[in-house]
Every structure is written in C-alpha cells, then in structure tokens.
Symmetry: C2
Amino acid sequence: MIIALDAMGGDFAPEVTVAGAIEAVSEYDVHVILIGDTDKINARLQDRRYPAERISIVHSTQVAEMDEAPTTVLRKKKDSSIRRAIDLVKNGQADAAVSAGNSGVAMAMSLILLGKTEGIDRPAIATLMPSLSGHFVLIDAGANVDCKPQNLLEFAHMGDAYYRAMSNSPSPRIALLSIGEEDTKGNELTKEAFKLLKATKINFIGNIEGKDVFSGKADVIVCDGFIGNIVLKTSEGLADTIMKMLKFEIANIKTGKLGYLMIKPALRNFKKRTDYDEYGGAPLLGIKGTCIISHGRSSAKAIKHAIRVAAEMSRQHVHENIAATIKEIHQKGQGI
Amino acid sequence: MIIALDAMGGDFAPEVTVAGAIEAVSEYDVHVILIGDTDKINARLQDRRYPAERISIVHSTQVAEMDEAPTTVLRKKKDSSIRRAIDLVKNGQADAAVSAGNSGVAMAMSLILLGKTEGIDRPAIATLMPSLSGHFVLIDAGANVDCKPQNLLEFAHMGDAYYRAMSNSPSPRIALLSIGEEDTKGNELTKEAFKLLKATKINFIGNIEGKDVFSGKADVIVCDGFIGNIVLKTSEGLADTIMKMLKFEIANIKTGKLGYLMIKPALRNFKKRTDYDEYGGAPLLGIKGTCIISHGRSSAKAIKHAIRVAAEMSRQHVHENIAATIKEIHQKGQGI
C-alpha cells in the first residue's frame, strides 16, 4: 500500500509527520510518500535508520494554515502539501492520503478532488473510540452540522460498511444517538431517521442514550455532526478533567504519593487503552478514495497509526464496499 | 421554608424519600410535607429521631408510574402524590416541590398547574454539574428537544438569574455550546442564537466547545434540551466507564491491591466532589413556582440535597427574579 502523507500538516509538522512515517514503514508493509518541503523533510530523515526504499518525497512549496478557509486554499494554494497528497490519490499514484493539517481544508479538498461516492449526499467523519468492552465508531463526528433524516441513514450504512471491513464483524450493532430508548423518544431529526433505519436490513438496535455511548452496547453510533463533535470533544475534555481531579485528590492525601507509584503501571495501561494516538485518525467516508484526517496535535505515534488505518482501509476496499452497498440500496429502492 | 416532597416518587420510594426528609429537617431550617400513602410513610417514620414538628404528612392515594404518559396521569390520577405536591405550591401551602418520580409528569404538572413565567416560551431544566474549578449550570438539560434561537436566549437569561441567585456571583460567564469558538461556527440554531446573545447585557463569553465544558471556563452553558440531555448522560456514562476501566487496570497489576488501598481516600474525595447526590436535583426554570426534579435512582442523600436546593431557591426568590428579568427585557424590547 502506498500512503500519501501531508508532511507539513499538523501543529508539530514536519517533525512528527516524518517521525511517524519512519515508524510506520519500519513496522508495517507500507510505502509512504512524504509531501512537503524537501529540504525540511530530508533534514529530519537524515541520520535516521529505516527501510529507505519505503519512503519517497514529493516536493510542494505551499502549506495550508490551520485557520485558513478551505476556499482560499483551493483558490490560492494549488501547490499545498494537502492538495498534492489528495491529488496523488486521485491520480492513482497513492492508495490513500493522511493529513493532520487543517481538517476543514482536508475535507473540502477530498470532496472536490476525489468527489462524492455515487448516491451519497453527505460524506461523514467516522471516529473510532474506546468503550468498556472494546471500541465503537461514532459517525458523523463533525463533517455536517445540519442534517436531514436521510443523511443519518447514509451515515448508518457507511458506518456499517466501515466497521465490517475493519473488524471482520459480519453484523455490527448500529444505534441512533437519542434521549431515550423508545422509538418515540428523540427530536424531529432522530424520530424520522429512526423510521428510515428500521426499514433497512442493517442490524439496527434502536436508539441509544448518552449513558450507554461508552458502555459497549453498540458498534456504530449514528448522529449529526454537530452533536457528534460535541460528544467527541466533551468526552475528551471530561476524561482529561477526571484524570486531573483524581491526581489532585491523590496528591492531597498522606498515602497518595506511594499509592500513586504503585498504581502507575495501571494508569499507563489505562492511558494506552484510551489513548487517541492509538486510533490515529478518522476517515472521511462517502468519497471516492481514502483520506484519513488526524488531530492537529497528533504525535508521531498518532501519525503512524493513521498510516496503518489508511493502509488497512485500502486493503479492505472500504470505499469500494460503501459504493457497492449504496448502489445496491438504490437499485432495490431501499431507504435512501 | 416549607417543601412539598412527593414521597412516592422514585425507584426507592418511600424508603429513601422519607429518609431524605428526616436528614433534611435534621440539618436545615426547613419543614417537609410528605405526600403519599400515610401508612407507608408512618411505618418509615416511626422509631426514627427527628424534629417531629418539622415533618407533616398529606395523604394521597395514587402514584404516577415511571413509564406513565403525563396526559394519562393528568386525566386519571387527580390524587397522585406528585400532583398533590405541586398543588400545595400552587395554593401557597408550600414554597417549593421536590419529586424523584416520573420526570415527564413532574414537568407537565408544573407547567399546567403553576403555569409559565410571563414572557417565557419554553421552561427549561437547569442542571448543576462539577467542573475542574467548581461547578457550572447546563441549561436546557432535557425539557425541550427542538428549539428556536429565541428559546436559547431565554435559557441564557434564566440560567444567568439562577446562577446569580445560587452563587452570589454578580456576573456569571454565559457560554453557548457549539463546535468552535468563532461566532461563525455552529449549526443554524446556534449561529442565530449567538447573534441574539451578543445583543444582550448578560456576560456572554461566546461559544464554548465540548472540550471546555468541564474545564471551568463558563458558569452557565446554554444548549437545546436534546444536546443537553446527551451531554449530561454521556458524561455520567463516561465517568462511570473510566472508573470501571481504572479499577480493572489497577486490579490487573501486582502492586494494584495495595496501591488501591492507599489511594482509596482520594477516590472517596473525588467521588464526593463529583457525586450526583451532592447536587440533589435540577429545577425546572421558567414556571411560576419552584419545582426540583430529581433522578429516579436518587438516594436519601440526593433527596436531602434536593430539599436544600428547593429551600435555597425559594429563599433567593429565583423564580420571581427570573420573572422580573424577563419582564424588564420585554419592556426594554431587548432580545426576546
């Protein structure tokens, strides 16, 4: 698999992007094309040991800034590293693209350069998150702030195909995020979406409440991108707050210092299990190609895992599977 | 202050409601009227020590079940304990009502029997939650699933008045829950609400992202009741999941058992700081009276604190203050 990495994208680029690429090619069966300033990239590659035949560089002279509007980048930065990365996917020179840069730009660029999957109205971000029993996919995690019921139906089908491909689970449990389990509970959007989902052949297990998001009851949780983004970020913030509060309380008692040392390996294991870095990034589903969008604050490890996810998605033909699923649904006149 | 307590409402009633009332009258300067089955209540009062002059009983023969529709209860259960509790507030025989029973019924009953505050379109639930630096109010936590921008403006004013009364803070920081800090970020609802909030005289600090909900940046966080309910329940579920994961990881390492014992007092302090029971319940704001709605699974401690909050709200004239604020805004033609 050949992965095009936006080497200039992210808060700590190109330091961590190059380091992540080195880790990825050393560990996985992938080739990484680093796109960006050749001099800067080479400065970080030299003196490092890695299978050199698995990394190549494509020079680009521009960078999309973190706060730049997608329209501006599209118009004025034809040679930006993110654009060049997605162009490589479009031209078939790479199997997938990864960027930790401006996520709005990455999304807009993927949409415009690669195009939407036939029959999909709104591509969506599918984020993998840890649960009590394993992990689940939250879709849409922020691509679409105002949605119609049909969009949530699309998200469910895309999440289903994504989860099946990535987990080898034949029939993922799909749930709709709402404020009560009964089908009569919800807002106008979810009540309509519930009916549409009920009529599909996916394993729709009904509404799921906030309290069960992390309990492991569902494999795919469907919601609009406004709520998805808020759930995602609130959860990250709360986890952070809880750990800070716990450390504060532990530091505040006599036996805390010693106790902390004794449970430290457990905290490390907990962190590993819930660490964003292990998940790497989230794909934009519903486009003709594979593009992984990573946090701006990604570490080298996060970049490595994003490359792993990108390769795995290409290997499993996720976007082709989604296209086939949507085509079949349209042909049978089911739902969308 | 005289508090009317729905003694039959809640998963563990009348056991915990009576116990909570006893704790409250022993600790605070309140009188509690227990409404429900006199025999059952008396059975739990006997042999207990408490200032007997501070508890009285009003007999009622019916109970609103947890899954009963508000309309059914309104039509068929004129002698339900929740209805009688709110009737006492309406007739001026009690200053406030508390119920851990069917929350939909409690809301509908408050609305219909007490009526909405003049100028308020949608009463809302204001829930107090712990943050890194203290606590904050989330409004609306679940009363209104589909909202207009004007409703969010009302929530902001009500949350402001509530927070001022309960904390003695002269100018609480009010924020709008959204997906980015810039005023251009959000969905159609929040973008419109942002403009309305900007034009008020309250201390509107702009949008707040999910990651900052628990960071202590805002005193009052405004959102529609669908998102509020999901944020509230997701947070409760996540906190629970994190504690389970941590305990699992601690039990899984050699030094875990001893380390756990050493940090146990810290865990207890953490639990106390974040314990729902300490917050007791959430008021429905925007009605002509005070009604506190508690979790069905409330403990005696939660009931005690709900009675405390009810008394404090009456003492601080929160609903009168809200009425005055809304009246002033309407007179000045500001906003709503």
